[in-house]
Symmetry: C2
Amino acid sequence: MKIRVGIYGYGNLGKGVELALRQNPDLTAVGVFTRRDPKTLKTLTGIPVYSALDVEKMKEDIDVMILCGGSATDLPKQTPYLAQYFNVVDSFDTHANIPQHVKNVQEMAEKAKTTALVSAGWDPGMFSIARLYSGVVLCEGQDYTFWGKGVSQGHSDAIRRIDGVVDARQYTIPMQSALKAVRKGETPALTAAEKHERECFVVVAEGADKARIEREIKTMPNYFADYNTTVHFISKEELDKNHGGLPHGGLVVRSGVTGLHKENKHVIEYSLKLDSNPEFTSSVLVACARAVYRMNQEKMYGCKTMLDVPPVYLSPKSRDELLQTLL
Amino acid sequence: MKIRVGIYGYGNLGKGVELALRQNPDLTAVGVFTRRDPKTLKTLTGIPVYSALDVEKMKEDIDVMILCGGSATDLPKQTPYLAQYFNVVDSFDTHANIPQHVKNVQEMAEKAKTTALVSAGWDPGMFSIARLYSGVVLCEGQDYTFWGKGVSQGHSDAIRRIDGVVDARQYTIPMQSALKAVRKGETPALTAAEKHERECFVVVAEGADKARIEREIKTMPNYFADYNTTVHFISKEELDKNHGGLPHGGLVVRSGVTGLHKENKHVIEYSLKLDSNPEFTSSVLVACARAVYRMNQEKMYGCKTMLDVPPVYLSPKSRDELLQTLL
């Protein structure tokens, strides 16, 4: 009996979930739910498309619903709503609002005896787990999160809004000097701008004033002004050819001390290099769907996060096999 | 109310636990249990010393016992025995025998309604967790574990048994070429010898035949014969000055693919650089003692491993605080 998974929303993340489900033989994709007209949508692997309006009717056909909407407006409404009918997984990533989101979903899931897992992915998600484990082991220490090298959609959008810009791609890149220091176990106080630099690839309209555009980018408050920012003007063809993907990644480094005189230093590093940010996130969501299904079977109801999940629940392998092969 | 911890055995690991407990204000060291005459033993921080013979009498005074004996002969007997009276944590690390050890301890802990966590540390332990998480996310992929750079006690001992050798220290070092390949997401088939090289610092007796000793080291089956091995002859003073510590570390790298045509590659890396192998392991054991105490409070009895523990249980912080700060 495969775990039957629904996909709610069909952007990059939804497509990634569809593909990740193919790689996990103990799960199966029931179909995609969309707010668009289902007839207008063709899935990558041919799985069925349903109207989001019909989702409640499918209650008995789906073991876990993976929500693939955005954190700004979709998930705050959709996750509590769907938790009334389904076990759910989402990737809500507005860090400051996570406690409220957990509370909202908890209320619905507890009442409905469903199991929800929110804020799954890599940050929040795998990076949160890395921060937790390294923090409990090196309790006297400090950790640093670096993002990149990777495409920031928000920063790319900000550049696109500048007059004369046709298209743009912005990469966030960890500063090698900062990285080197924290990897040695040094504990400098670093702002986000001291940890990252920004590299922009920009396509402009014919005759546009490149000097002005570069100045507008580099002085844009919050987005670029505090950062070491590099701007490259390139052709649309080059952008499409060399900057079409959505790579990302980053690392969590924690250093700490032990010993009678705190004389021994330790460094823990967790890093990701991802060719496709949405596909990696989707792979995390699918592993979480398995865990959610099992937790629900064991009557562990309510709203969880990846920090609450016993690692064994994420794996298709039996505990015995895991003890034999991983420990 | 602090969690009251006993330390059973007082070698490098027991000392490390004593020191780690000082760094965790929600736990307190009740004392050390030794098979030696307690009067002959003075602890680093002045905590009391008891005879191992009196341990059963202390049942009511200890919430969790951390076992600090060896995996060869101590833990297979001590952990099941003590699980009859205490919640226990051990670092049993004979990989092939872990399933049997879990079974033996499970039997005792279940009956006594105690909670045990075995095979904690970094490998098995943190590395097992890294392998599990990266394996469930990148389900089509391959992982590699490298050890070092660090001192291998077993290999150092093997050199010391050679005629004419006064003292020795052996470092296991990951091969940079192998490391580079797997970090790029390549998936070569590599034996242990293709992943690691061995560097030996050897002190010999006056007039000893260095050529013979070097030959005996380099041709020693299992330990060195298959490896790229380097031998340095140094003075006792130099050995004590530059090679007195017990540094270690290593890394777990997994690469895998996603996408419609498996065209996207991802690399997850978890690495440790440790100035003191036993102190780091001890820090893991202490975090596990906290989790064991809590699981026992919640009637989660029996024998667990780090793969079974919800990460939140390891932290002194409340779940609310963790959701706010780590996610």
